[in-house]
Amino acid sequence: MRIPCPYCGARDAHEFAYLGDATVTRPDPAAPDAEDTFFDYVYLRDNPAGPHSEWWYHASGCRQWVRVARDTRTHAILGTELARKPAGDAA
C-alpha cells in the first residue's frame, strides 16, 4: 500500500503511523452532555466497509498529519490532504 502524501508524493505505508477514524471530533468538555458525547468520541466508531476517512502521520517523511480517504474493502486510496492547511490558504 502506497499513500500519496500531499507534500512528499507517493510513499510506502511503512513510513506512516495510523491513528484512526478522522470523522470523530473532540466535544466541548464544558457542555452539560459532555459525559455522553465523550463516550461517543472515545469509544464508538462507524467502522464502515467502504470509503473511510482516517488520520495517518508521515513519521518517516515530512512529519505531518495527513487525512486519507481509503476504501477498507480494497485498500485503494481515494484521496489525501494535509490536516493543517498551508498558511495563507485559510478559508
Binding site: A13, G20, D46, E54, T72, H75
Partner: protein, 416 residues
C-alpha cells in the same frame, strides 16, 4: 452415526461406503426459538450448548458463506489461558477446561494437543511482569511456571539466547496450553449441534432485521425472512456491519491480521513459542509446516489480505528468535478480519435492542475462546443473565469505565 474404532474397522472392510455427511445442509424454516447469525466456531458452539445444556433445540445457525470460512479457518490454532486480569482469566480457564474434554464431548477428533505455550522474556522488567501474570494465573487455579534461561534452553536449545539486542532470559510456561485443529473444531460442533436438531443454514446472508416496535423478532436474509424469539450475533469481523442494520454503533474497529505457514519440515518445535521483544508466535502443525504470525496490520480493513511491512516485521521477529528458519520458504499466507474492541477484550452481552444479543470484539484471540464463548453465549441466550465467567464482558463497560484492558494501552484498537 457415532465414530469409534469399530466404525473405522467396519468401513475399512466395506470400501468406506458407510460414512454419512456429518451434518445436514438445512433449508431455513419460517421460525425458530433462537437464531444464531454466524456459522463460525463461536456460533456453532453456541448452538451446540443451547441444545445440549439448555434443551433449546429449535435453533438455526445462519451463515453467509460456508461454515468455518471466516476467522475459524484463518487463525494460528493456539489455545491457552494465560491472562492477567480477573475479568478474563476465569473465562479463558473455563475454555481451557472445555478444550480438555472437547473430543470426548463431541465424539470428534479436534486434535487438541496440550503441547505447552511458552512466552519468552528478554529483560528484568519483562520477567517481573511475567512473574506477576504467572502468579495471577495461579491465584485463579491455573498452571503456570516461570522458567529461567537454562529452563528454556533445556526445552528449545536452538533459540538465539545470546541475541545482541534481545537476549533470552527465560519464559512463562503454561504446559496445559497448546494447539487444536481449527477446522475440526468447526466440524465437530456443527455435527454435534446437527445431531441435537439444530439447523445449519449456509449461503444465507442477513440483510436486515424484522422488528415489532423496538424489539427484534427475526432476520431478513437472502433466503427470505426468518422469525425468531431471540437473535444472537456471532459474526466477529463483520459485527459493525451487521449491528448497524439494527441501529447499533459499537466500540469496535475491523482490522486485518495476517498469518503464515512454511513448507513442511521434520519435527522441529514441539510446543508453542512466543518472542517477547517483538510480536511473533510459532508452532508446528502435525503435517510439518511452521505456523506463525505477529501483529495486526494496524489500519481499518475488511479486505482479508494485508500488506508487506507487517510481513517483514513478523519475519524479523522470527529471525531474532530462531535464525535457523532464515532459509525456509513460505507455503502460503492469508489475512482475516478481526473485531478489535476498544479495550482488547470481548463482549458477550444483551444489547439495548430487545431480542438482540451480542458476541463480539474477540480481537485476535477468538480461537482459544471458542468453547467458553459458545457456553457463555448460550447461557446468556437461555437465561437472560450472564454466565459467571463472562460477567465482566459487558457492552456497557466502556460507558461505565469498567474496562478489561490486558495491555493497558487505552482506546486505541490497533495497539491491542
Amino acid at each position: 452415526m457415532r465414530y469409534s474404532f469399530l466404525s473405522i474397522l467396519k468401513n475399512g472392510l466395506t470400501g468406506q461406503s458407510g460414512w454419512k455427511p456429518a451434518w445436514r445442509d438445512a433449508a431455513p424454516k419460517p421460525s425458530y426459538d433462537v437464531i444464531i447469525v454466524g456459522g463460525g466456531g463461536h456460533g456453532l458452539a453456541t448452538a451446540y450448548y443451547l441444545a445440549k445444556v439448555h434443551g433449546i433445540r429449535n435453533v438455526a445457525v445462519i451463515e453467509k458463506g460456508t461454515i468455518g470460512s471466516g476467522n475459524a479457518g484463518r487463525n494460528t490454532t493456539i489455545i491457552r489461558s494465560n491472562y492477567l486480569l480477573p475479568g478474563n482469566e476465569p473465562f479463558y480457564e473455563w475454555s481451557m477446561k472445555l478444550w480438555e474434554g472437547l473430543e470426548q464431548e463431541l465424539n470428534y477428533n479436534a486434535m487438541v494437543s496440550q503441547r505447552g505455550v511458552l512466552n519468552l522474556y528478554h529483560s528484568d522488567a519483562q520477567r517481573d511482569a511475567y512473574a506477576r501474570r504467572g502468579n495471577a494465573m495461579r491465584l485463579a487455579g491455573v498452571d503456570s511456571e516461570l522458567l529461567d534461561r537454562e529452563g528454556v534452553r533445556a526445552m528449545y536449545p536452538f533459540l538465539d539466547f545470546d541475541n545482541a539486542r534481545f537476549p533470552i532470559q527465560g519464559g512463562l510456561l503454561q504446559r496445559r496450553g497448546g494447539t487444536a485443529r481449527h477446522d475440526a473444531v468447526v466440524w465437530g460442533y456443527a455435527r454435534g449441534a446437527d445431531r441435537l436438531g439444530v439447523d445449519i443454514v449456509q449461503n444465507c446472508e442477513v440483510t436486515g432485521f424484522l422488528r415489532e416496535g423496538d424489539a427484534i423478532v427475526g432476520v431478513e436474509t437472502t433466503r427470505g425472512p426468518i422469525r425468531a424469539g431471540k437473535v444472537g450475533l456471532a459474526v466477529a469481523g463483520s459485527t459493525s456491519r451487521v449491528a448497524r442494520q439494527a441501529g447499533l454503533r459499537l466500540p469496535i474497529e475491523s482490522h486485518v491480521l495476517q498469518a503464515f505457514v512454511s513448507e513442511g519440515l521434520k519435527p522441529l518445535i514441539d510446543g508453542v513459542v512466543t518472542f517477547g521483544a517483538g510480536h511473533f508466535y510459532i508452532s508446528q502443525s502435525d503435517k510439518g509446516g511452521l505456523v506463525f504470525g505477529g501483529d495486526i496490520d494496524g489500519y481499518n480493513s475488511y479486505a482479508q489480505r494485508g500488506n508487506l511491512p507487517v510481513i517483514e516485521d513478523v519475519c524479523e521477529g522470527g529471525m531474532a528468535l530462531m535464525p535457523r528458519i532464515g532459509r525456509l520458504r513460505l507455503l502460503r499466507h492469508w489475512g482475516g478480519i478481526m473485531d478489535m474492541s476498544m479495550d482488547g477484550s470481548p463482549i458477550i452481552d444483551a444489547t439495548p435492542v430487545p431480542g438482540l444479543y451480542l458476541n463480539a470484539g474477540w480481537c485476535y484471540g477468538g480461537f482459544k475462546a471458542t468453547p467458553a464463548s459458545g457456553w457463555c453465549f448460550a447461557h446468556l441466550l437461555a437465561k437472560d443473565e450472564p454466565h459467571e465467567t463472562a460477567a465482566a464482558m459487558r457492552l456497557d463497560r466502556f460507558r461505565t469505565g469498567h474496562l478489561i484492558d490486558e495491555k493497558g494501552v487505552g482506546a486505541q484498537p490497533n495497539l491491542h
